[in-house]
């Protein structure tokens, strides 16, 4: 294609995008009011990221995110329409206005914060050390001389390797599943894994293992289109309320089998 045509096409596309964006910004001021007058809030969520987002036996969106979205719609006094999105397309869904909000396990990162506006954190994926009930240990120093399983080259491997004393025997397995198997079959007393992985442990061997201490965490926020300040303020208010009245704690217990992680309480101040 001749370059003049390409330039023309690019210019046309650019102008179009700009026109589109300007109208979006113009509408942004009363996004909250717009949702309320429509009577329905459209919320995008993942459906392939259990236990945060999944499809249940009735093939309906369910999970931690779905429960948060339900509570949000109830608080707003509007009907809820859950829109299944995927990891790669969730931000385009929001920016192009196909959904009003994302409750899609979107980890708050500086790069993403340039594209969307994040609320306070409403969920967290934490990495910690888990182990048998009878193993008394509560801080990294006490790992000395103990054996711990991790998935090779995972975030938990990096974290455990960083804090563990020299005498710790770190056994690296090929996957979380294999490391988990080693814990449950009794080959190792301790395991470094995420809280999501812990849900599986609880399923397989209820009540026999507990959390020893936390290594690191990634918090997730509800995302709104950039500039929708009133909507964002309302969402933050909702999250504060859900944190203080125990709603979020209940959702954590239901899906992750643990109370709300401390890091979520911290960020609400």
């Amino acid at each position: 294609m001749p370059s003049i045509l390409k330039k023309g096409a690019a210019l046309f596309l650019g102008l179009g995008l700009m026109a589109g964006l300007t109208t979006m910004v113009a509408q942004a001021a009363d996004a909250l009011q717009a949702i309320k007058s429509k009577g329905t809030v459209k919320i995008g969520m993942l459906v392939d990221f259990p236990p945060y987002g999944l499809m249940n036996e009735q093939n309906k969106p369910d999970g931690y995110d779905a429960d948060v979205a339900k509570a949000l719609a109830k608080e707003m006094g509007v009907k809820l329409q859950l829109v299944p999105v995927t990891g790669p397309n969730r931000i385009p869904y929001l920016l192009s206005g196909q959904v009003d909000l994302l409750v899609a396990s979107l980890g708050i990162t500086p790069a993403r914060a340039k594209k969307v506006d994040f609320s306070e954190s409403y969920a967290a994926i934490t990495i910690g050390v888990y182990g048998k009930d009878n193993v008394k240990i509560s801080k990294p120093e006490e790992l000395a001389g103990k054996t711990i399983a991790v998935a090779r080259a995972s975030t938990q491997d990096t974290a455990v390797t960083k804090v563990a004393p020299k005498s710790t025997n770190i056994r690296r397995f090929d996957s979380d599943a294999a490391a988990l198997q080693a814990l449950i079959s009794g080959q190792v007393p301790l395991l470094g894994c995420s809280n999501v992985c812990y849900v599986t442990i609880q399923k397989l061997a209820p009540g026999k293992y507990n959390k020893k201490f936390e290594l690191s965490s990634q918090v997730q926020g509800i995302a709104v289109k950039p500039g929708e300040k009133d909507l964002l303020a309302w969402v933050n208010q909702f999250i504060d309320k859900a944190k203080s009245d125990g709603e979020l704690d209940k959702i954590n217990q239901k899906w992750l089998g643990e109370p709300m992680p401390a890091i979520l309480k911290k960020s609400s101040q």
Partner: protein, 218 residues
């Protein structure tokens, strides 16, 4: 959050096939009509029409279907047109299939000896009848194998529509896999379902080829 893979999960995957079929039928019909138009314009006598069609073909053959779907859905919305996913998928799949089928069929039309067209003109047939009665029937015979080959590929490509929210066969399988952790089972089932759709297409093509061959045996 593991749940066993049972009959319910199998049914969910099986029923997701309806979207694959809807998307494929849309692409076949839209692409068939669009492809014929593109092929005819591409072989027309007007230079302007030919160049315009070449640009169309280059653009849609030169960009991935995934991007076309993405732009048709999200791009249109950003430009201020609210499109529903079905319309966006129809537009993108039709344009994509038209570009490919148009180019395949152009080759088939050009493969018909030019003497045929000249003889038809000599008999006083105008463009429409010349194409309908002389050129296209002969081109169609050559077109069967490459067309079916492309349609089979297109049927499998409908899985890309999951980017704009269609939960078709492949996407449903990913969702089920994420809660059952049985990837080999899930994706084997999906492969078998795709095969069950594509194989009859190939069989039908073989029969059609044989029929054409018998009809023109000397």
């Amino acid at each position: 959050m593991i749940r066993p893979f049972g009959w319910n999960e199998f049914e969910l995957i099986l029923f997701a096939v309806r979207w694959t079929i809807v998307l494929a039928v849309m692409a076949f019909v839209g692409g068939g009509i669009g492809g014929l138009i593109v092929a005819l314009l591409r072989t027309s006598d007007s230079r302007v029409l030919r160049v315009a069609t070449i640009v169309f073909i280059r653009v849609f053959q030169g960009t991935p279907l995934l991007m076309q779907l993405f732009l048709a859905y999200f791009g249109m919305t950003i430009l201020g047109f609210s499109v529903n996913p079905l319309v966006a998928a129809m537009v993108a799949l039709t344009a994509h299939a038209s570009a490919y089928l148009g180019e395949i069929w152009r080759g088939c039309i050009e493969a018909v000896p030019s003497g045929q067209s000249e003889a038809a003109t000599a008999l006083g047939l105008r463009y429409f009848n010349r194409m309908r009665c002389v050129v296209l029937p002969q081109a169609a015979r050559i077109a069967v194998p490459p067309t079916v080959g492309f349609l089979v590929q297109l049927l499998k490509e409908t899985s890309l529509a999951s980017i704009i929210g269609f939960v078709e066969l492949t996407r449903q399988a990913q969702i089920i896999d994420s809660v059952t952790f049985r990837p080999f089972l899930v994706f084997s089932i999906v492969a078998a379902i795709y095969f069950a759709m594509c194989w009859p297409l190939s069989l039908a093509a073989r029969r059609l080829e044989r029929k054409f061959a018998q009809a023109t045996v000397r």
